[in-house]
Amino acid sequence: MAKDALFEIGLEELPARFVDDAEQQLLEKTEIWLKELRISFASVTSYSTPRRIAVFIQDMAEEQTTIEEEAKGPAEKIAKDAEGNWTKAAIGFTKGQGKTPDDIYTKEINGTSYIFVKKHIDGKQTKELLPGFKEIILALQFAKNMRWGKQTLRYARPIRWLVALFDNEIIPFEIAGVRTGNQTFGHRFLGKPITLVNPNDYAASLAQNYVIADAKQRENLIVNGIKELERKEGFHIPVSRELLNEVRNLVEYPTVFMGSFDESFLKLPSEVLITSMAEHQRYFPVKSKDGHLLPHFVGVRNGDDYKLQTVVKGNEKVLKARLSDAQFFYEEDHKHSVNHYLQKLEKVVFQEKLGTISDKVNRIMHITEKLAEMLNVDNVTKQRAVRAAQISKFDLVTNMVNEFTELQGIMGEKYAMNFGEEKTVAKAVAEHYMPRHANGKLPESAEGSIVSVADKLDTIVGCISVGYIPTGSQDPYGLRRQALGILKTLQKNEWNITVESLLDITLDLYQTLDIEIKDVNKVSAELNEFFLMRASYLMKEMSIPQDIIQAVLYKQVGIVGYTMEKASILSEKRNDADFKQVQEAFTRVLNLSKKAQFTEVDELLFETASEQELFQQYLSVSADYLDKRNSRDANLALEQISKLAEPIHTFFEHNMVMAEDEKLRKNRLSLIRLVAKLIYDFADMTRIEWKQHF
C-alpha cells in the first residue's frame, strides 16, 4: 500500500532572495534521494513561504524495490584449477558478493565462459529509511549562512520547527535541537498552531490559517489585485519580474493596497521616484495609460484587509518622508556647480593604491583622448568625449547619489543638463556606466561608448596592476563584468582596434604615474590572459563550440568583431566536408612549423616545381589575404588562405621536408614557417576538432 509523506522546515524569515532557490533545491534533492533509495512514488510537490520550505510526497511505496541482479565474476578458466576445484579468485568473488561457491553458475560472453552469482537484495521498510531525510535538509545550500543560540549548525536562518510525517506517523529525527513533529504554524498574527493528522491536509490547513504555501498562487493573488486596480482606476501598473518575485516571497498571505503621495513630488526625476518606491519600499509604481508616473503606488501587505487603511496611511507617511528627503537633496544639489563637485572628488578615495576619484578621472580623460585618436573620430566628438570623461563622476558627491547610490550616472545626466552641459555630453555621463548589469544595454552614443570603455579599462588595468585579480567568487570591483562590457561595446561599434592596443595605451599611461607596479611584463601577461578568458566566456554564451573558441583565441583577442566573425565562419566550416582537406593541410603546416627557425626563403634552393608553386601561391595569397583582413572580411580572408591548401598537399606529396641536406631542409622549413604565419594570423587551425557528421 502506498502512503503520503510530508517534510516541512520552519524557519525565522528567510531572505526573500533565498526562497525560490531553496524550494527548488529541496524538490530536486528529494526526487534524487527517493530514486537512489529505490522508493517508488507518484509525485513530489514543493512549497515555500518566507517561514517554511516543504515537500509533499504522494503515494510512496512502503518498502524499497527489491533488487534482482547478476554479478559477473572472473573467467571460468581462472575460477577453476586443473582439478576443477574453485580457486581462491572464485571463492573471494563469492565472498565479496555475500554468497558461497554453491551459488555459482556460468555463462558465455563473446566465446569466453565467466562465473556468475545471482544477487537478491530485499527492500527495507520505507519508514526505517525516512529519518535519513535529515541529510537532505542539511544539504540545502544558501548564499549566506549563520549560527544562532548555542547551535553549531550554519543555516540561512534559525530553524524553529520541523514537520516529518509518513501517513499519520511522525518520522523521528532532530536538527539543531529541534525535534520533528506533526505541528506546523499558520500566519504569524492571523493563524494558529496546526496539528497535521495527515500529510495531505498540509496546503489546505495552512490556507485556513492565512498561509498560501504555493508561491505561484501568492503571485497570482498579487497580479490579480494589481489588474483589478488597473481596471477600476484606469491605471497602467508595470510589474517587474524581479520585484514581483521578491514581494511574493516577503509575504505568506498577500493583500494588495494602493497608496498616494503629494503631486508636487512628481517634479522629481522619475528615476528618483521609482527607486524610492520599488527599490527601497518594494512598491509597484503606478503610471497612467499613456505612461506618465501618477502620484500613487501599490503595496502588498502580509495579512488580510483588516484595518487596511492604517497600513496604507503608515506606508504613505514613510514614502512622504523619503520623497521629502529626496526633494531636499535635489534642491540642495542645485545650489552648487559641476566644478564644486569636481573639487570634492579630490577628497574621495577610489582605491587605496589607485588614489582618489579625481585621479581616476584624469586617467579616464587621458585614455578617452587616446582612444578617440585611435578611432579617428571628428574633433567635436573627441572634445565632447573628453568633457564627458572629465565630469563623468561629479554626481558621486551629490547628496542625491550619496543617498540613492543606484542612481549614479542617471543623476549625473540630469544635473549636467541643468548645469548647462551639452546634451551629448550629459548623455555620455549616464551611458558610461553601461552595461549596468550582465545583460544590460550598451551605450548608444560614440561619446558614451568611448568614455565607457576608457573608464572600464582604467579600473581593470589599475586593479590588476596593483594585484587585484578576480579569483573564484572574489571580484569586488566587478572586473569581469566590466571586461565583458568593453568587449561588447567594441563589438557593437565595430571598432577596428585590438583589445591589446587598448591595454597597451592604458599600461603606458600607468607607467608614467606615481603608482607602483611591480612587474610590468607580468601585469601585461595577466591582462592578456584575463581578456582572453572573458572573450572566451562571451563566445561560449553565443554557443560557439569550445574548439573554435580555442582556435581563434589562441594568443590574443584582437579586434573583437573580426574575431567573432572568424569564429562564426569556422563554426560553419567545421561541419563542411569540403573544408576537411583544407584544415588537414593547415594542421600539417602548423605542426611542422613548430620545428622551424625562421630564415629567409631562398628561391634558388628550390628543387621541385611544387616548392616553387607553394611559394608563388603564398606570395599572391598573402597580399590578397592582408587586403581582406584589413577590410575585416573574415569570409573572404579565409577563402584566400584556403587557396593554399592544394599547393600544400602537393608540396608534401613531392618533397621530403626533413631532407638530409641541411640547407635544403632549412629552406623548406622556412617556407613552411612563412605559410604557417599566415594561417596563424587567421586562427590556430590545429585546435579544430573534426566532427564526422556525414
Partner: protein, 292 residues
C-alpha cells in the same frame, strides 16, 4: 504614548525577560552596539541579558536642528541576549504589543538586512523590522565581534526610539515628539542640537582634536599593556568619537581616513581578545556550575 512611557514600557518588558537594566554608558559613542555592555559582553561563553537606552552621537548627521529626521544625537533602545533565545522573535513582537502596536492592525515584516561594522571587526545577520513600511528595529544575530567568532550567538535588538515614536505619536518632525507630558523633544534637545552642530562644523579646534586622538590612542595602548581591558576600551571609544568629529569637519584626507579607521580597528581587536582571555583567567564567573 510619549517617549518616556515607551522607555518605561520597554524596560518593564525586557526586565520581565530577565534582562539586566543598565543605564546609558557614559562615554560618547555612535551606536548602542559600541557600549561595552554590548560589544565586550557579547564575547565569550558567559550568558548575558541586558537592556538600556543609549544616546548615540553622529556628528556628521548634525543639522542645526533644522532637519525633521536627522539628529546629531538620537536614542536607541538596546536589548542584548546571549545565547539568543529560541522565541526571541515572539519576545520582540510582544514588546511591540506592549507599546500598543496591535499586529493585526498593521503590517509587520522581517526584511533581510545584514549588518557590518568594519571598525569594530563586527558582523551579523538578521533583518530590519518594518512596521507599515517603516524600519523601526534592527534585529541582528552577531556572528563576529572584534574579529572573533561569536560563540554562543548573541542577538541584538536596536529600536530607533525617535522613529518608533514618530509613528506611535503620528508626528512628522522629530522635534514635535512628546518626551513626557507637556515637554517635547524640541524643549530638551533643540539647543544642544544647534550648538553641537555649530561646534562640529565650525568651532571645533582641529589641532586639539588631532592631538587628543593620538593621546587617547597612546593611552589605550598603554592601558592595554597593563591588562586593564575596560579602561582601554573607554579610550578606544574616545578615539572613535574624536575621529567622527574630525571626519564631520572634513579635515581628514582620503589616505589618512583609512589609516585612522584601521588604527581604531586594531585597538578594538586586541581589546576583544584581551577581554576574552581575562574572563577565562577569572574562570568565566557568570557561567553556572553545570555550564562550566
Amino acid at each position: 504614548m510619549n517617549i518616556q512611557e515607551m522607555i518605561l514600557t520597554l524596560q518593564k518588558h525586557w526586565s520581565d525577560q530577565n534582562c539586566i537594566l543598565t543605564q546609558a554608558y557614559d562615554v560618547e559613542k555612535g551606536a548602542g552596539t559600541m557600549s561595552p555592555m554590548t560589544l565586550l559582553r557579547s564575547l565569550g561563553p558567559e550568558p548575558w541579558n541586558v537592556a538600556y537606552v543609549e544616546p548615540s552621537r553622529r556628528p556628521a548627521d548634525g543639522r542645526y536642528g533644522q532637519n525633521p529626521n536627522r539628529l546629531y544625537q538620537h536614542h536607541q533602545f538596546q536589548v542584548i541576549m546571549k545565547p539568543s533565545p529560541n522565541n526571541i522573535q515572539d519576545l520582540y513582537l510582544d514588546s511591540l504589543k506592549a507599546l500598543g502596536i496591535d499586529p493585526l492592525e498593521h503590517d509587520i515584516r522581517f526584511v533581510e538586512d545584514n549588518w557590518e561594522n568594519p571598525t569594530l571587526g563586527a558582523a551579523g545577520l538578521g533583518w530590519e523590522v518594518w512596521l507599515d513600511g517603516m524600519e523601526i528595529t534592527q534585529f541582528t544575530y552577531f556572528q563576529q565581534i572584534g574579529g572573533l567568532e561569536a560563540n554562543p550567538i548573541t542577538v541584538e535588538l536596536t529600536y530607533g526610539l525617535e522613529r518608533l515614536a514618530s509613528y506611535i505619536q503620528n508626528k512628522e518632525n522629530v522635534f514635535d515628539l512628546e518626551w513626557t507630558a507637556g515637554v517635547t523633544v524640541k524643549d530638551i534637545f533643540f539647543q544642544p542640537e544647534f550648538e553641537h552642530s555649530t561646534y562640529t562644523f565650525e568651532e571645533s579646534d582641529t589641532d586639539m582634536l588631532f592631538k587628543l586622538f593620538s593621546m587617547y590612542e597612546l593611552e589605550a595602548k598603554r592601558t592595554m599593556e597593563n591588562e586593564l581591558v575596560f579602561p582601554a576600551y573607554d579610550y578606544v571609544l574616545k578615539c572613535s568619537h574624536t575621529f567622527n568629529l574630525l571626519d564631520a569637519k572634513g579635515v581628514i584626507s582620503v589616505t589618512e581616513r583609512t589609516g585612522y579607521i584601521s588604527r581604531i580597528r586594531n585597538l578594538a581587536r586586541s581589546i576583544a581578545k584581551a577581554y576574552v582571555a581575562k574572563r577565562e583567567e577569572l574562570g568565566f564567573p557568570m557561567l553556572t556550575k553545570e555550564e562550566k
